[in-house]
């Protein structure tokens, strides 16, 4: 089929052609970026924390005698924490438990900036988690080097004291960042503001930080375990339930804690409180709520966009067919087959959407460039552009097909009919 007559016919419909091409271009640019963003959100949401997440839950509790350090001696507080832990670990539905300041994905970041020599400026961002000898087991972390904390290394520590533990366990990512030569185990690091070193005694394979959407996404895996019980009126118990007994353990743990101290506070979720007892699944869902919402919005907007564009092209093509009834009839009278007419409209549409797609590719990268400044995104990878081009061109062809089919059924008689 000759392209030339189609092109010259299009030149008589410059504006209509331009409008369709523009629509295709914008649609392509937005759709492939939306797909890319959705893919990124899902990637982010499916990162593994390094924890064995099933059967895990966390309890927030505050001693009623007050959020002031003066209310209760730190020895008494520490004793109550140890008492709570004994009670929790004794529960039949509970596998193990420990006390901490935070948990991966919990959005309670406790950060520090580390250095490897007392004379350096602090350079490596990390988030720390209070831990004891039960932590690795409770969380299901994988120790890949060195050893766990020993029970005798764990001490009480309040929120206000300086952070200078004698031993620490770090994530593999943090170990590599601090000691690129691979000699992290047994080496020393310094917390901010201290000159007393902390020795790395263990390395765990992977442990995500508390902030899923932090400002420090390059540090998502920079976690460090410190051998402290957090002696603070408000603290957190991380508990692993026995297989299949999560709900039972969550109930039993609450009852056990109230039995230990009837006046304690476990937020119940009323009056704008957060809920005090949350399963890890709930913590994870809250951590990625923003990403889920973004993915959902992108999906809905993309779907609307494709429908609007498809319907618009169908509407315009159908209008063109009506407008050219007489010319089509004439071509048919002069010997063109129905197939020729169908092809004519489909090729015309392909020409328009093809050139729109060219422009769309440029726009897609421009849009991607802007998105990169806003979200944690990389350069749009080419498969997304191909998928985008395929979707929009096929959509456009599909939208034009029904009107083109109708055109092909126009009888030669139409050429002489007035209407």
């Amino acid at each position: 089929m000759a392209i030339h007559p189609i092109v010259s016919a299009l030149q008589r419909h410059k504006v209509g052609t331009l409008l369709i091409a523009l629509q295709i271009a914008f649609t392509l640019a937005i759709v492939c970026n939306a797909l890319f963003v959705i893919h990124n959100c899902f990637d982010k949401m499916h990162r593994t924390t390094g924890l064995h997440e099933d059967h895990l839950f966390m309890i927030e509790t505050t001693s009623a005698s007050g959020a002031n350090s003066a209310g209760m001696s730190s020895e008494a507080l520490d004793a109550s924490i140890r008492g709570d832990l004994v009670a929790l670990r004794r529960l039949p539905s509970v596998e193990d438990a420990y006390e901490s300041n935070s948990l991966p994905l919990s959005n309670m970041p406790w950060s520090n900036i580390l250095r490897t020599s007392p004379n350096d400026k602090p350079h490596t961002f990390a988030e720390f988690f209070n831990a004891d000898d039960h932590t690795i087991g409770t969380l299901g972390l994988t120790l890949v080097g060195g050893r766990n904390f020993r029970a005798d290394e764990i001490g009480g520590h309040d929120q206000l004291s300086g952070m200078q533990p004698s031993v620490v366990i770090v994530s593999r990512q943090l170990a590599t960042m601090l000691f690129p030569n691979g000699n992290a185990l047994g080496n020393r690091i310094y917390f901010m503001g201290t000159v007393t070193p902390s020795t790395i005694v263990g390395i765990v394979d992977r442990m995500q930080t508390a902030s899923a959407n932090g400002f420090n996404d390059s540090a998502t895996w920079n976690s460090i375990l410190v051998p402290f019980r957090m002696v603070n009126p408000t603290r957190y118990y991380v508990v692993r339930a026995k297989n299949g007994q999560l709900a039972a353990a969550m109930k039993a743990a609450e009852a056990a804690l109230y039995a230990q101290d009837p006046l304690r506070i476990i937020p119940d979720g009323e009056d704008g409180d957060d809920i005090g007892i949350r399963s890890f699944a709930q913590i994870r869902a809250a951590a990625y709520a923003t990403d889920r919402t973004l993915a959902m919005l992108m999906g809905v907007i993309g779907a609307i966009l494709l429908s609007v564009t498809g319907a618009g092209i169908a509407g315009l093509s159908s209008f063109w067919v009506t407008q050219r009834r007489r010319q089509i009839g004439m071509r048919r009278a002069l010997g063109a087959t129905a197939r020729d007419i169908l092809n004519y409209f489909l090729v015309e549409n392909a020409l328009i959407s093809g050139s729109g797609a060219m422009l769309g590719i440029v726009l897609a990268y421009a849009f991607n460039y802007w998105l990169m400044s806003k979200l944690e995104l990389t350069v749009l990878s080419s498969p997304y552009v191909f998928i985008g081009v395929a979707i929009t061109v096929l959509l456009s062809q599909a939208a034009a097909f029904a009107p083109a089919l109708r055109a092909s059924k126009i009888a030669p008689m139409e050429a002489i009919r007035t209407f």
Binding site: V15, G16, L19, I20, L22, Q23, F26, T27, A29, I30, N33, S65, G66, A67, N68, S69, A70, G71, N112, I113, K121, P122, H123, F125, Q159, L160, S161, G162, M192, G193, T194, N232, P233, T234, L263, I265, P267, D271, G272, A286, A289, T290, D291, T293, L294, L297, M298, I301, I304, L305, S307, V308, T309, A311, G312, G315, L316, F319, K374, L375
Partner: protein, 433 residues
């Protein structure tokens, strides 16, 4: 004439019903997605105190020096106790307050609960123009004497005193007795702009305020961030004298001169500390106003901005779509136009008629958009945190903005088709028919 054109437009909606339906749907969906994402954006980016946001400032003072932070880092966004108290004592602005978040336990009839609150100076209340239901803030003397007084929120007053005037009555915070001096009227600042450095921007409302000096006296620990650039001396007293960052600070500066003077004062203060040997580095201070501070503290999540922009792009595509469809729709009417023109109608009259017609399409699209926006926001409420979800609702302003946007966008999309319609040659059209 306007009324007649409206009737004409309404009647012509039925002609080319498919084209009309397509346009109405396109504008409806385009406008609805824009308005849904816009209402989310509005919820998180709104100015919480528009009459004063350019006058509220948040100082930062580098109290640990460049050696204690990475090169790219800014000075800490909160102050040390030493600097905060020094600034309060110098009292260089008309109104200022040091503040930090607390979470005392309060005894209610049922059981105890920990409630969010802030330790502030008395100037906090007039500075933020906070209205009281009963009583008022405390006095400067009470600040000075570390008085056991409290201002409570309307909600807490409801819970503890059944909403009655509780001024003069007492409440138990951390098992100590405080006298209520004021009960706030409804006040739900979102974001919690006065302490963005320490608390979640869209966290729960504060329910209690006590004097800063009293909170320090009672050794109430901060419920916000806490970090030191040197190992703190032991106990609560130690955190007051070591370089530990945890105190928020806010000043009101009413004119450009006052801002400049305050900047100079901060530099002067830091230089004094330098010559006294406390700071071993030149002054490195910041003074952001509220808008800049909200940007610095990243109050608006980037995904919210991105969704809004993508939705606006969708609206643009819908408009392009509508241009094409209107062009087609008007083209079928060129012979009508030709007849009217031949009988003496001016181009202006034709233009007005067809603009009204696109406006009517926009209006119908707008009504569809309203329904869809309502649906969209209901869906959003399921996935958003409650504090933001409260803000994202279909109110009167969103209602008329939706209709206006739909009509304006459609009329703009109609400009070119209308221009084409008015410039179609009447002679040619008549002859062709």
């Amino acid at each position: 004439m306007f009324k007649y054109y409206l009737q004409l437009a309404a009647r012509s909606l039925q002609r080319n019903a498919v084209l009309t339906a397509l346009m109405v749907m396109a504008m409806g969906f385009g406008v609805a997605s824009s308005m849904t994402t816009y209402s989310l954006f509005r919820a998180v980016s709104g100015d919480p105190i528009p009459w004063k946001s350019s006058k509220l400032f948040f100082p930062q003072i580098d109290a640990s020096g460049p050696l204690h932070r990475r090169d790219a880092d800014e000075p800490n966004d909160v102050l040390t106790y030493v600097d905060a108290v020094a600034l309060m004592q110098d009292h260089r602005a008309r109104l200022q307050t040091a503040l930090y978040p607390i979470k005392p336990t309060v005894t209610t009839s049922k059981r105890q609960r920990a409630i969010p609150g802030h330790a502030v100076y008395r100037e906090f209340f007039p500075m933020l123009d906070i209205a009281f239901s009963y009583g008022a803030g405390w006095s400067a003397a009470e600040d000075e004497h570390h008085a056991m007084v409290a201002v409570i929120s309307k909600g807490l007053n409801q819970r503890l005193f059944g909403g009655t005037n509780s001024v003069g009555k007492t409440i138990q915070l951390n098992a100590r007795t405080y006298t209520v001096v004021g009960v706030l009227a409804d006040w739900h600042p979102r974001p919690k702009f006065y302490d963005l450095a320490n608390v979640e921007a869209f966290g729960a409302d504060d329910q209690v305020f006590i004097p800063f000096t009293t909170a320090i006296d009672q050794q109430m620990a901060t419920a916000g961030g806490f970090g030191c650039s040197a190992p703190p001396r032991p106990g609560f007293a130690g955190t007051l004298t070591t370089t530990c960052y945890w105190i928020g600070y806010m000043v009101e500066l009413d004119s450009a001169q006052e801002v400049e003077a305050y900047r100079a004062y901060l530099d002067h203060y830091a230089r004094d500390q330098q010559s006294a040997g406390r700071f071993g580095w030149p002054p490195d201070n910041r003074l952001h106003d509220l808008q800049a501070w909200m940007t610095y503290e990243k109050v608006v999540p980037p995904p919210t901005k991105v969704s809004l922009v993508v939705a606006l792009c969708l609206l643009l595509v819908c408009m392009v779509n509508t241009v094409g469809l209107l062009l087609a729709k008007f083209m079928t009417r060129y012979s009508d136009i030709a007849v009217r023109r031949a009988m003496g109608a001016s181009r202006r009259a034709i233009a007005v008629q067809y603009c009204i017609e696109s406006g009517v399409i926009g209006l119908v699209g707008g009504l569809l958009a309203l329904a869809l926006t309502w649906l969209g926001l209901s869906a959003m409420r399921h996935v958003l945190p409650t504090q933001i979800a409260i803000l994202a609702h279909l109110d009167f302003s969103l209602l008329w903005q939706t209709l206006c946007l739909a009509i304006t966008a459609t009329v703009i999309a109609g400009l070119y088709p209308v221009w084409r319609a008015t410039h179609a040659s009447p002679f040619l059209q008549l002859k062709e028919d």
